[in-house]
């Protein structure tokens, strides 16, 4: 005798009404927002014609002024290198002060507010303020990217410290080690690798942003780029864009190699 037991699983392809409602809301939102922003298909299609003309003028890229291009790219890289070095240096103490498992609340609160402030403004807003404070030139760009780095690495570093095992810290404290030794021998070895990871990521980000801060006058290739736009010098513009993309790709390749070294 065999008994056939039938089990109901329900349809594996049943309709998820919540998901459908979500998609409907998304479509309605797109229609509403497009209407609000005065974004319409006709304007878009008109723009495509302009875009074709624009691309036509960009080809072939004009590398005749390569000396200017190389000089600007070098300045961009210099801004990124200096800003990364100082940004990493400053974000070490800031991250440490913001870690809630090592510091009392009256220290972590100001440090966390500072980090949040550095992070919530886009670098270009800092760049505008620093151009006003220290004038045109790479110094404003360097200061901008230092603040951007503190905002990013400081936050991640504080989070990494909050996740460490507290046992070595307790052991060192029980042995009567001074605070500096606790940091150097118990905290730092646990977060060192992640810190190097954040730093190399931030260097990449700084390189990308240092190509932009020049638009508001803070040094690097952005100034030349903006000038090329304003003078409708689109074939030189194409050359600048190609060299920026190439620079970023090279730096991504290098940072992948560096990550392999530290794994």
């Amino acid at each position: 005798m065999t008994t056939v037991t039938k089990q109901e699983y329900g349809s594996p392809f049943r309709i998820n009404w919540w998901a459908r409602a979500g998609w409907l809301i998304a479509v309605l939102y797109v229609m509403y927002a497009a209407n609000y922003l005065d974004v319409s298909l006709t304007r878009f299609i008109q723009g495509l014609g302009n875009g074709a003309a624009f691309l036509g003028e960009m080809v072939p890229p004009n590398f005749a002024r390569w000396k200017l291009l190389v000089g600007n790219l070098l300045e961009t890289v210099e801004i990124a290198v200096i800003a990364s070095a100082f940004g990493v240096l400053f974000s070490l103490p800031v991250g440490l002060l913001a870690a809630r498992n090592l510091m009392p609340p009256w220290i972590t609160w100001p440090a966390r507010t500072f980090v949040a402030l550095c992070r919530s403004f886009h670098p270009v807003i800092f760049a505008i303020l620093f151009v006003k404070a220290v004038g045109f030139g790479p110094l404003a760009g360097i200061l901008t990217l230092i603040f951007a780095s503190i905002g990013f690495i400081g936050k991640l570093f504080a989070e990494a410290i909050e996740e460490i095992s507290l046992k070595p810290v307790e052991a060192l404290r029980a042995a009567g080690a001074p605070f500096i030794s606790v940091i150097i021998y118990a905290v730092f070895p646990q977060v060192q690798n992640r810190f190097i990871g954040f730093s190399s990521y931030q260097f990449d980000a700084n390189l990308r942003n240092s190509t932009m801060v020049g638009i508001v006058g803070a040094g690097g290739i952005g100034g030349t780029l903006f000038a090329a736009f304003q003078r409708f010098d689109y074939d030189f513009l194409a050359a600048i864009l190609i060299s920026i993309i190439a620079l970023v790709m090279v730096s991504e390749f290098i940072s992948i190699r560096i990550k392999k070294v530290f794994q």
């Binding site: 594996p12 927002a33 403004f121 004038g135 736009f229 920026i244």
Partner: protein, 266 residues
């Protein structure tokens, strides 16, 4: 008889240590060269404290009444640009992400093409994208929306492709063996596995886009940035401080919102 051998414990091999040393040395040399050659005018640096003090006295007291007159509407526009731009990015990122995932499309040329599109989108800064689209579409929110979309494709597409590559091949093999057509394989095999990651990426990028759409107006792409640009050009520093304060508030609120939603869906 075993003789007692002397073991010296080393964490890294010789070549590993040399590689680390080379990285540090390389960076130190680059830093030294940069510090020597970068053109910094020291007089400007000495002048900085006076300039900052001047800036702060001009920013205070804030012209809070200006929020209602000029900022509120631009802020709403900024949020719409960010949301619509992120949706546009998602629409473009799904095909590019699928093309870039080497377990779905097994044609190296297409994978490589997708990688190139994604890298280009990410390496060109949002302000540069904004300049490009202002030149194409003219100043306004349309340029801003398309700019945010193109800028975000790289980020969303890369993470989406990585999520697809990590998908468990079991369900997909089962569907293929049952003879399911390609759309069913994607919707019932891949999509349920990558959906949480996908929504996480979407929210994360929306948060970033709120920040970015606040500044692309500086080059004419709509939103609060255009108001900021006007205030800066006219030296209305008391208005600038209100604008900065409202950007700060909106960015913090957006981040809180995203963190709360992420906690629930992941």
């Amino acid at each position: 008889m075993s003789s007692k051998q002397k073991h010296t414990w080393e964490r890294f091999t010789f070549s590993e240590r040399m590689a680390r040393f080379t990285v540090f040395l390389g960076f130190a040399v680059a830093l030294a060269v940069s510090l020597r050659t970068v053109e910094v005018i020291p007089e400007f640096l000495y002048d900085a404290p006076t300039q900052v003090a001047d800036l702060l006295t001009r920013m205070w007291p804030m012209d809070l009444g200006y929020y209602r007159e000029g900022i509120h509407e631009a802020m709403v526009e900024t949020l719409h640009i960010a949301s619509l731009g992120t949706l546009l990015a998602v629409v473009m990122a799904i095909p590019v992400g699928i093309m870039g995932a080497n377990n779905i499309i097994q044609i190296p040329l297409l994978n490589w093409l997708a990688k190139l599109i994604l890298v280009s989108s990410r390496s060109v800064n949002s302000l540069v994208w904004a300049l490009l689209f202002v030149a194409i579409f003219g100043p306004g929110a349309l340029a801003g929306t398309v700019c945010i979309g193109f800028r975000s494709v790289g980020f969303v597409g890369k993470l989406f492709a990585e999520a697809l590559e990590e998908a468990d091949p079991g369900p997909i093999e089962a569907l293929t063996a049952a003879g399911a057509p390609w759309p069913s394989i994607f919707l019932k095999g891949y999509w349920p596995q990558v959906a949480p990651a996908f929504w996480g990426i979407f929210l994360f990028r929306w948060d970033i886009n709120v920040r970015e759409s606040a500044v692309i107006g500086l080059v004419g792409a709509g939103g609060i940035g255009m108001v900021l640009d006007t205030a800066l050009n006219l030296f209305y520093w008391d208005r600038v401080s209100v604008i900065l304060l409202s950007i700060f508030t909106v960015v913090i609120l957006a981040e809180l919102l995203v963190t709360n939603i992420r906690k629930r869906i992941i």
